[in-house]
Symmetry: C4
Subunit: 126 residues, 4 copies
């Protein structure tokens, strides 16, 4: 299977609410970057987080194995630092091989959760 | 009418909740790939599902007739295997003629449902 | 101001629920194509609707004035035929001058509404 | 870090509900343009709002600092005029350096909020 997608992606929107009405793993408020690596080589991924009032933090490193998907929760990132809750951020994703990225949030601050999703922006040097 | 779109699409996000507050067909939790084939030839579509911890499964085969739309629920796929519930997956869509794909989820685990949608990623070989 | 965007757009997802918990205009279940015409010339827009099991219907004709937006509800289309409720459809949008299209649905079948939105697919002949 | 993205973006959908069930800042109904400036130069951003039945209003001016994100609420724009509530609008965004834009709305007219989001349309002269 061929590699598909890009090696550079951006997600300007990011916000993890600190509250959830449920602590069940699937229903806790979370934000995810969903990766699809269709190719035969593992992807080494570096994520840099941008904030409104401080310097970028990163890189966070994850691996997306060949011919696998990974639905990564920003909630779970811890090295070099946890992602602050209730804080606006953005993310830049750089991969060693092409892949595809989709951004999703589940917000369960209220008894009725809300969802959003969009394919991330395939960023190429201008 | 001319063919519009691409022959290769990717949807990195995929997740079908096993729970629904309603069993009504239109309100049950579901995930859909919406196809639009504007052209004069039927489209033979092959879908491959990718997972986090096992090999890809597929192809699933569907037909999108000429000058028709098809709102395919992943819930309804059964051959070669049903789509597991409560499991992260991604999908790659290959069509015999160009068409356009949009991804939608209705989540009705709670009394108030949630929706998400995005045009899929038009994938071309890198 | 220059014209921006494309003259051909596609929205594979379409579905207007027949039910709404509210009859208030802003809260009734609806589906919209939001147009932005940044240029100095009015745009004549033709919309064709595609279905799963019958021939396409259209064109529906609307005008998007120069330097204006139009948030068109598919609910309001009536000529050549109303848009059937509780029915999967897709739409193809052709404009006389470039413009930009975003797709939005508000679903208020339940006391808590749900929203989805995506920029439409900028279709160009393959 | 290199500059990524585009200097011209469009968001055809825009609507700020006047009602909210909560006055908490994070839960009040709002619409946001999320900017990511990955580069080393500050971005001077001009936003023009388009309406259905009146001339465009703007430019609104904001700065997105180098290597920062900004989650700008349209609710907060006041110069040259506040953004009218319960009114359909669209926006055109012009930046002095490339950046990336994502559009998000949180609607809390009802006890259960709803969310939508999409990467904005990267507009280039036709």
């Amino acid at each position: 299977m061929q590699s598909l997608g890009r090696t550079l992606w951006a997600i300007p929107e990011g916000y993890i609410p600190s509250d959830s009405v449920s602590e069940a793993h699937d229903l806790v408020s979370h934000e995810a970057a969903c990766f699809l690596n269709t190719g035969d080589r593992d992807a080494d991924v570096q994520i840099t987080l941008f904030f409104e009032d401080r310097d970028p933090v990163g890189p966070y490193r994850v691996k997306v194995s060949a011919r696998r998907t990974l639905h990564l929760r920003f909630n779970d990132l811890s090295d070099p630092a946890p992602v602050p809750r209730d804080t606006s951020y953005a993310s830049l994703i750089e991969a060693s091989v092409p892949l595809i990225v989709q951004h999703t949030r589940l917000d369960s601050r209220q008894p009725a959760m809300a969802l959003l999703s969009t394919v991330a922006y395939p960023a190429t040097p201008q």
